[in-house]
């Protein structure tokens, strides 16, 4: 079997500010950015050097969500319930200082844990990511 993940989704409250966060602050590359109608935009980003497309999916009625599920999802994201993954870097302390200087919010500052040094950062919507060192 030859399975490869090509797309995954992060649910965001606002695509414009998510673009700023993932592209200008985290330094991800834009993979695809196409309008799909007057209000809908298909926006995917990717950490440099990787092939995975991360869909920045707006939580809004329409694609994927109805009114009720959009409200539920929006509440979950805003409350910081959802963790979306692990981001690896060469040096957590340096990445922490740089991202902090760029205005990124952290839920947890760098600390030694059983699996290495870890910090936890939040995107502009409230989704969180573990920031760890490459081993």
């Amino acid at each position: 079997m030859d399975l490869q993940m090509t797309h995954t989704t992060i649910y965001v409250l606002n695509q414009e500010s998510a673009f700023d966060f993932y592209v200008n602050k985290l330094g991800f590359e834009v993979k695809t950015d196409v309008p799909l109608g007057p209000t809908l935009r298909w926006l995917t980003v990717c950490p440099k050097g990787q092939d995975l497309e991360i869909i920045l999916m707006p939580i809004a009625e329409g694609m994927l969500f109805n009114k009720q599920s959009a409200k539920q999802m929006s509440d979950l994201v805003k409350s910081g319930t959802l963790g979306f993954g692990v981001i690896k870097c060469k040096d957590v302390y340096a990445s922490y200082e740089e991202l902090k200087a760029k205005g990124v919010q952290f839920k947890k500052e760098p600390r030694k844990s059983p699996f290495g040094i870890e910090a936890v950062l939040c995107d502009d919507s409230g989704n969180w990511f573990s920031l760890q060192e490459k081993t």
Binding site: L36, L64, D91, P110
Partner: protein, 137 residues
């Protein structure tokens, strides 16, 4: 967080500031003295620490960031000559050589490939959207 809570916090802040200085000043003819002045280190100590944190020397990082910015400018529609000047290269030949080495494409090839993809995105946007997202309940 108090700066003392993790080891060498002060050193990290200095090195990160110097990296952000490179990010901001990539188009200027900056040299190592400018960067070490920013970090308040001796040149040797600075290069060694920068490399241990980022895996490359400040000069290698500066070249990399210039190529990254060049890619952005090419996508924005600037000519190769304009881009060369905008990212701080003094000669077009060194810019084109480094660009090709880093991306395996000449600046013109890179821009044309990007424009071709944008054209396809414009003509057939749904080609980029996996079907499941269009038919999900």
């Amino acid at each position: 967080m108090a700066k003392e809570q993790y080891p060498k916090a002060y050193l990290y802040m200095r090195i990160v500031q110097s990296k952000l200085f490179i990010d901001k000043s990539f188009a200027e003819p900056i040299n190592l003295e400018d960067i070490t002045n920013e970090a308040f280190f001796s040149k040797f100590h600075f290069i060694r620490t920068f490399k241990s944190i980022y895996g490359e020397t400040p000069h290698q990082y500066l070249k990399k960031i210039r190529i990254e910015k060049a890619k952005q400018f090419l996508k924005g529609g600037k000519s190769v000559n304009e881009v060369c000047q905008s990212v701080g290269f003094e000669s077009a030949s060194s810019f084109m050589g480094l660009f090709k080495k880093a991306t395996k494409q000449t600046p013109s090839e890179f821009r044309n490939a990007y424009l071709k993809r944008k054209e396809i995105e414009k003509k057939s946007p749904l080609k980029f959207v996996p079907g499941c997202f269009m038919v999900a309940p």
